[in-house]
Structure formats: C-alpha cells, structure tokens
C-alpha cells in the first residue's frame, strides 16, 4: 500500500470514528422525560430530582415520592424496598420502570451523589 492510500484510509477512519462518536451519543442516551415515558410501554429511565418532603411509606416494602423531570413535570413515583438515605440531597435521581396508570412504577431508584470535591462545611470554617 502506498503512503497516499494510507493517508486516505486514515482520514476515512477518522470520519467514521467521529460519526460513531456523534451518533452513539444520541443512540445510547437512555434518559427520557415523563412525557416520553408515557408514550411507550417499554421500561425506560427517567432522570430528574425528588421534590423535598414528599416521601411517604405505602407499606413495609413500598414507598412513594414526587419527582420533577427536566421539563418541570411532577409525577408520583412508586418504588419498592427502602428509600435511599440521600434521596433528597442527591444531585439527580433516576427512576427505572414504566407507567402504571397515573403513577410511574419504578423497579429501581438510582441516586447520584453530589460530586463537589469541597470540604465539608463546618460552622467554624464558614465564618472564615
């Protein structure tokens, strides 16, 4: 193979690579909003945040809270098990599941820890 052919092929490789980079970003983005979740019967992942102070225990192993998605739509989310400790401090909350009537039935609730690498605020330090 001549050098010229190689250069052409490497350029082609870069074009396809950038193509993957651009489309995989869309293709693999699995977050949806509540509006989109309503449109499908498939299990989806909704990303948003929990509305403070709305946690209720339904029975021994189910709980309910209100969740606001990126469009500002607020929906009741029903989930199984114990509510995570940091549900309301979390940077974002992801509910995996599907619609059941008016409620979103979550199989799993994932919580993203706040990722601020800053010192824990002690009263003494705040004054400084």
């Amino acid at each position: 193979m001549k050098k010229y052919d190689k250069v052409v092929l490497v350029l082609l490789l870069l074009v396809f690579g950038v193509g993957i980079f651009m489309t995989a970003r869309n293709a693999l983005s699995t977050y949806v909003t509540f509006a989109e979740a309503k449109a499908t019967t498939r299990a989806v992942q909704v990303k948003g945040s929990a509305v403070a102070g709305t946690l209720e225990e339904l029975d021994d192993d189910r709980y309910v809270f209100l969740m606001e998605d990126s469009n500002g739509e607020v929906v009741r989310v029903v989930a199984g098990g114990q509510a995570p400790d940091n549900l309301f401090e979390a940077e974002s909350v992801v509910a995996k599941g599907k619609y059941d009537g008016e409620d979103f039935l979550a199989q799993n609730i994932l919580v993203k820890c706040p990722s601020k690498y800053e010192a824990e605020e002690h009263p003494a330090e705040v004054q400084k």
């Binding site: 193979m1 052919d5 190689k6 092929l9 490497v10 082609l12 490789l13 074009v15 396809f16 690579g17 193509g19 993957i20 489309t23 995989a24 869309n26 293709a27 693999l28 989109e36 449109a39 499908t40 019967t41 498939r42 299990a43």
Partner: protein
Amino acid sequence: MIKPLRWVKQGLAIWRKDLQIEFRTRYTYSALVMFAVTTLVTVSFAIGGFTADVEITAALLWIILFFSAMAGLARTFVAEEETGTVTALKMAAQPEPVYLGKYLFNVTILCSLALLVVPLFIMLLNISIVLPLAFCAVVLLGTLGLAGASTILAAIVSKAGAKNSLLTVLAFPVLLPLLITAISATRAALGGGLAAEVRSHLLTLFFYNGVAVVASLLLFEYVWNE
C-alpha cells in the same frame, strides 16, 4: 481511485473461489447452521410456547449470531493455512484484495445464515415485530459488522496456530460496542421504540462497519505478510 477498483476486482476473484470451494465442501456453512439451530431450538424448548421479554429475545438473537460467527468464520483462513495454499495465494495476491475477498465471503456466509436463522427465531420464539423495516436493517448492518471486525481477527488466529476458542476471546471486546448497539436497536425495533432512537442506532452501526473495514484494510498487510 483506480486502485480501490482493482482491489475489489481481485477481491471478487477470491470471493468466487472461496464460494466455489464452500459449495463443494459445505464445511463452514453447516458448522454455523448447526450451532445456530441447536441454540435456537434449545431456548425455544425451554421457553415452551410463552413469549419472552423483548429485552431477553433481542440479546438472545445477537448471542446466537455472535457465537455462530465465532464457530465458523476462522475457517476460511485456517483452511488456507493448514492446506498450504496460503503460500500460493500470497505469491499471487496483494493483502488488501485478500482481506476484501475473505470479508465478502464471510458476509455472504453470515447473511445466508441470518436469512435462515432470523425467520426461525421469529417463529420459534413467537415474536411480533413492531418496526419490520428497521429490524431488517439492524440485522443486516449488525451481520456486516460481525463479519467486518472478525475477518482480520480470524487471520490473526490462523497465524497463531488456530488455537481453540482464541477467536472468541479476541473478538468479544472488539465486537462489544457493536453488540450493545445492535441489541438496543433490535429491542427498539421489536418492542416499539422511538423511530428517531432506531435511526441513530442504525447510523452508529453503519459507522462501526466503516471503522471495522477501514481499520482492517490498514492493518491487514501486517497480519498477512508475517
């Protein structure tokens, strides 16, 4: 741009020769088909008339296609190496046409496997397809991608003494992005995903194919002329 045309022309001669031999021995195709059909029948029997979740069936289809491909695709290079025809071919052909010819042969084998296996899969596992056209496109692009990346790996395996199951070990990490995307796209096509979602999956598969074939063309001469 004359050279790529010449590569394709010589590649087609190699493709034709391999098909001629395959028609006479039917070795590769029967190995692939036996593997795929055995797996399908076993799973269908285990499920026993129920319909499995889309998530499971989509993954299942690609697991079957992946492992069938691994069972047969190394054959075309290993046979050349074992029978000593590789020297005759090397003296006559440049590396790039050899890659193209073997790639086309593997594409032909895998596509005809898919033509047999996918209808069986739909019948045996009771599947209804929401987006049939998208489903066909996913199967086609996914199969092409399997052939595109594993052809050069098959050549590596044949030079490494055709050790058992080496192809599967080498191919899995390289094919994983393809498999993940193909499974998501199949799931969307089977279970009624959003059309836009399927479209960007298809584009990813298309670009993956491009990367696999171009990278193989660039690297093949180093494998072929060891």
